[in-house]
């Protein structure tokens, strides 16, 4: 693949369809600028500011843009909130749709056949692969991203975090907890 991709880049550059310098900027953006820290800010603010949570519920795209996160694969955002009763899990069974603007590029497992095939039929089995076990009474709601809407899970706020500010809360928000394959960290766990 290394040679094949290099050849393709050379052909497209020689023909004047692409500018290799633009490719560098794209890579730089997704490697260093956009990532799950964006989403963690959104979640931490949702936990600590009820009026912000309300804005997220009404128009997540705009509310997330308030924090400076918008753009490609985040044009139409929705939040889904975990509670004791409902646990949300996001998948794209047909390809790899994922909210880039708040989570960055998806991990390999998110794009893999095992996750895409099983999340909708065997959600508890999938959660077990991530070491997550939910009480039997918790209902699992799976969101299949078949359209242009992109889903961000607001995980449950861990107990004992009442005294923490948004910045400290953000350190408890893992990438997986915003997909639904994980839970937010307990206050004692995050350094």
């Amino acid at each position: 693949m290394e040679l094949r991709v290099k050849a393709l880049e050379t052909i497209l550059t020689e023909k004047g369809y692409i500018d290799p310098a633009a490719l560098d900027v794209i890579v730089e953006t997704y490697e260093h600028k956009i990532g799950p820290k964006n989403g963690a800010h959104v979640v931490a603010k949702a936990w600590s500011d009820p009026t912000y949570l309300e804005r997220l519920r009404k128009n997540a795209t705009d509310a997330i843009a308030e924090l400076g996160f918008s753009g490609r694969q985040g044009e139409h955002m929705r939040i889904v909130e975990n509670t004791d009763a409902i646990h949300n899990l996001v998948v794209c069974t047909l390809c790899s749709c994922y909210p880039w603007s708040v989570l960055g590029l998806p991990p390999v497992w998110y794009k893999s056949a095992p996750y895409r095939s099983r999340a909708v039929i065997d959600p508890r089995g999938v959660l077990k692969d991530f070491g997550v076990e939910l009480p039997a009474a918790t209902k699992i709601r799976i969101w299949d991203s078949t359209a242009e809407l992109r889903y961000l899970v607001i995980p449950r706020r861990p107990a004992g975090t009442e005294g923490l500010n948004a910045e400290a809360l953000a350190t408890l928000v893992t990438r997986d907890s915003m997909i639904g394959t994980g839970l937010a960290l307990d206050a004692g766990v995050a350094a």
């Binding site: 693949m1 290394e2 094949r4 991709v5 290099k6 050849a7 393709l8 880049e9 050379t10 052909i11 497209l12 023909k15 004047g16 369809y17 692409i18 500018d19 633009a22 490719l23 560098d24 900027v25 794209i26 890579v27 953006t29 997704y30 918008s70 490609r72 694969q73 985040g74 044009e75 139409h76 069974t93 047909l94 390809c95 790899s96 603007s101 590029l105 991990p107 390999v108 497992w109 794009k111 893999s112 056949a113 095992p114 996750y115 895409r116 909708v120 039929i121 508890r124 692969d129 209902k139 699992i140 709601r141 799976i142 969101w143 299949d144 991203s145 078949t146 359209a147 242009e148 809407l149």
Partner: protein, 226 residues
């Protein structure tokens, strides 16, 4: 099309294996594959639905045997040839033969940030009145078309409940074929696990699927005799 991409509910793919270190890219070429795909897409010769269709049209053995960036590159090569930007010979030899067609845009480094920040919103005004309302019971059409669709086969023929009208969006089924954006209402539809998987269901779970209006038929609600 119910091709290799249509994976929902299929069995036998094994466990999900998260990586412990989880590098963003697993080889230098993956960085370029991502960027090449985005930069070539910016030429404007095709749209996102065309490129999704190119990926799912790869032969099943190739699709399932490739990493995701490999899928992207194989599909990109096909798109470039199909739209006349690159010839088969050029791909085979790895050398440009010189001729070039006009494209809408060549993405420059200085414009990347603005392009990515702007994204490509797919919501559109729609003149028609929505056919469904929250609470409506609907049956998903069982149309297996060879062209692009975002109707996964595991909901074909199944009954669900409209939860929300999410707005009108570009219809992928026509956009992928270059037949126009055809803005169409899209609904969030809830399916009970039992209705999708029968005995194989995880009781109590439910699946929410975004469905465009032409994927759905309303079913008359009749009171069940008790």
């Amino acid at each position: 099309m119910n091709g290799p991409q249509d994976l929902g509910g299929q069995m036998g793919h094994g466990p999900v294996v998260p990586e412990s270190d989880e590098p963003l890219f697993h080889a230098p070429w993956e960085r370029r594959a991502l960027a090449l795909t985005l930069a070539a897409g910016a030429c404007g010769a095709w749209n996102i639905d065309t490129s999704r269709h190119a990926r799912e049209s790869l032969p099943p053995l190739v699709y399932l045997g490739s990493s995701y960036y490999e899928i992207w590159i194989r599909a990109l090569e096909r798109l470039l040839v199909a739209h006349g930007l690159v010839s088969e010979t050029e791909l085979e030899t790895g050398c440009s033969l010189g001729s070039r067609i006009h494209v809408m845009r060549v993405l420059r480094a200085a414009d990347v940030e603005a392009l990515l920040a702007a994204g490509s919103p797919y919501d559109r005004p729609c003149a028609s009145r929505p056919r469904f309302r929250p609470g409506d019971r609907v049956r998903v059409r069982n149309d297996h078309v060879p062209t692009h669709t975002r109707l996964p086969r595991y909901i074909s023929g199944r009954i669900g409940e409209v939860v929300e009208n999410s707005g009108a969006f570009v219809l992928p089924d026509s956009n992928a074929q270059g037949k126009g954006e055809n803005p169409t209402w899209c609904y969030s539809v809830r399916f009970r696990a039992e209705d999708l998987w029968g005995l194989g269901a995880e009781t109590g779970s439910e699946v929410m699927v975004d469905c465009w209006e032409p994927y759905l038929d309303k079913i008359a609600t009749r009171k069940k005799p008790r």
